[in-house]
Amino acid sequence: MTGSGLVRILGALGRFCIQGVHAMGDGAVLTMRALGHTLRRPWQGRHVVLQLHALGVGSLAIIVVTGAFTGMVLALQGYYTLAKFGSESLLGAGVALSIIRELGPVLGAFMVIGRAGSAITAEIGIMRVTEQLDALRMMAVNPLARILLPRILATMIALPLLVAVFDVVGIAAGYLVGVDLLGVNAGAYVAEMTAKISNHDLNGGWVKALVFGFLIGAICTFMGYRAEPTTEGVARATTRAVVVASVSVLVMDYILTSFFL
């Protein structure tokens, strides 16, 4: 590689890093400004509930389906592995721990990003393109309080609830496959599961869901709010929101897992 080629690559890398840091700072400031309206009048409670309904209820079906198939495939894979060591009775604990500690929060977050996060970015981006955000400002309504805050709070509240549904459905589906299909003893399945799961595991799952919900809300609203005001800009912002939110969830998952181990 020539010297000038290396300089170009380093330059591009530097620009990417600076833009990334700038966007993170901008997003953090915007989110904090939006959250600053939480306890300020006018209250946004009604709008939080409306968003909670749109995001939470709207994502319920996909969460149930994903949870069910995740539990079923975990039971199949777990049985295959545990049978080699004659430890099939541990299947319930394995399935439940995997779902509660890891797969529930992470897969639940991915489903909410795909189903609701992208919609949040596109909706806010379109409001920007069509000057609806400016119209709100001119009607003396702050879009940070009215548009961003309810969506951030709604994802923070909705994701732990959806993850709870994911966990229950996943564990139940794992039971059906493990006990009814593969013949694991029902008593052993439930007894091992209840014995091996502690409050610490459950709390870790809730905290992850809460943090992921905050990340999804903050990233998806920020991307929409800062979308270039063109149709292409909104499309790019939506794609970027899904990618950045997904990667952020995985990075934060590692950090939280190392903290809660």
């Binding site: 006018p42 379109i126 409001m127 069509t130 000057e131 609806q132 400016d134 119209a135 709100l136 400002r137 001119m138 009607m139 003396a140 309504v141 702050n142």
Partner: protein, 262 residues
């Protein structure tokens, strides 16, 4: 009513508005006219406090919009209304809720009173009975009229109009133009109208500001503008393609660029 001092706005390398002083008189219609890209919409957004100027100050009701807090700016905006170029109706709300939106946000009036006020505003724009329609079900002219009713909902001291007649058929454009003039006369409203529609601008305005390349090139009453002997003003109001305002924005001759490519 509104005053701009040494207002300018730069976007990247583009100087949208060059430093200028502007005064919007109260209880009158001021038309800011000019061709596409002349900086008139940017100037309107600066006056409304939607953009921060690169230099200068905007005074409204004795307060500098560029220096006050965000909270104070939102409080002052309760005295302002704006009709956007593409109406900017809230997509998720029907006509009634769009017009009632500012009333729901900023008053504690009972719903039956708001209902009557909305009916009055919609009657004013000739759309009473269309409360249930969604923005996607409205024509361009109807959407503009709903936006007008919404902007007037709080009886603001000043209303900004961004290209109120663009994209409308002649009848709808005429209705909107008359509506602005009649309302300004009836309620003594201050109106700032940005338009490139020469006929509409000169018909409704008490004062005209003509812009070109981010600068004010003429100001005065419609009669003074019509009588102006400035070649740029004459070219604009007569709509002639040839004159000091060039049609092409290219900085180099086409022949030269072809030769360079060869």
């Amino acid at each position: 009513m509104i005053r701009g001092e040494q207002l300018s706005k730069v976007f990247g390398e583009v100087q949208a508005v060059r430093p200028l002083d502007i005064h919007i008189p109260p209880r009158a219609v001021t038309a800011i006219m000019g061709g596409s890209g002349s900086g008139k919409t940017t100037l309107l957004r600066l006056l409304a406090g939607l953009e921060r100027p690169t230099t200068g100050h905007v005074w409204f009701a004795g307060e500098d919009l560029t220096a006050i807090s965000e909270r104070r700016l939102f409080a002052l905006r309760e005295q302002m209304g704006m009709v956007f170029q593409y109406s900017a109706l809230l997509n998720s709300l029907n006509v009634y809720d769009n017009v009632a939106f500012p009333l729901h946000e900023h008053t504690d009036l009972p719903e039956r009173v708001i209902r009557r006020m909305v009916a009055m505003k919609l009657e004013q724009v000739g759309l009473r009975g269309f409360e249930h329609l969604m923005p996607s079900e409205l024509s361009g002219g109807m959407a503009k009229r709903v936006a007008f009713a919404r902007a007037m909902a709080m009886d603001p001291a000043v209303v900004f109009f961004d290209e109120p007649t663009s994209g409308l058929d002649p009848i709808s454009a005429g209705v909107i133009t008359e509506l602005i003039r009649d309302t300004a006369d009836t309620v003594q409203m201050t109106a700032v109208v940005v338009t490139h529609d020469v006929a509409a601008g000169l018909a409704i305005a008490d004062h005209v500001i003509l812009m070109w390349q981010g600068e004010v090139i003429a100001r005065g009453t419609p009669a003074e503008i019509r009588a102006s002997d400035d070649a740029r003003v004459r070219q604009f109001i007569e709509g002639r393609p040839d004159g000091p305002i060039p049609f092409s924005r290219s900085t180099t001759p086409y022949a030269q660029s072809l030769l360079e490519e060869a």
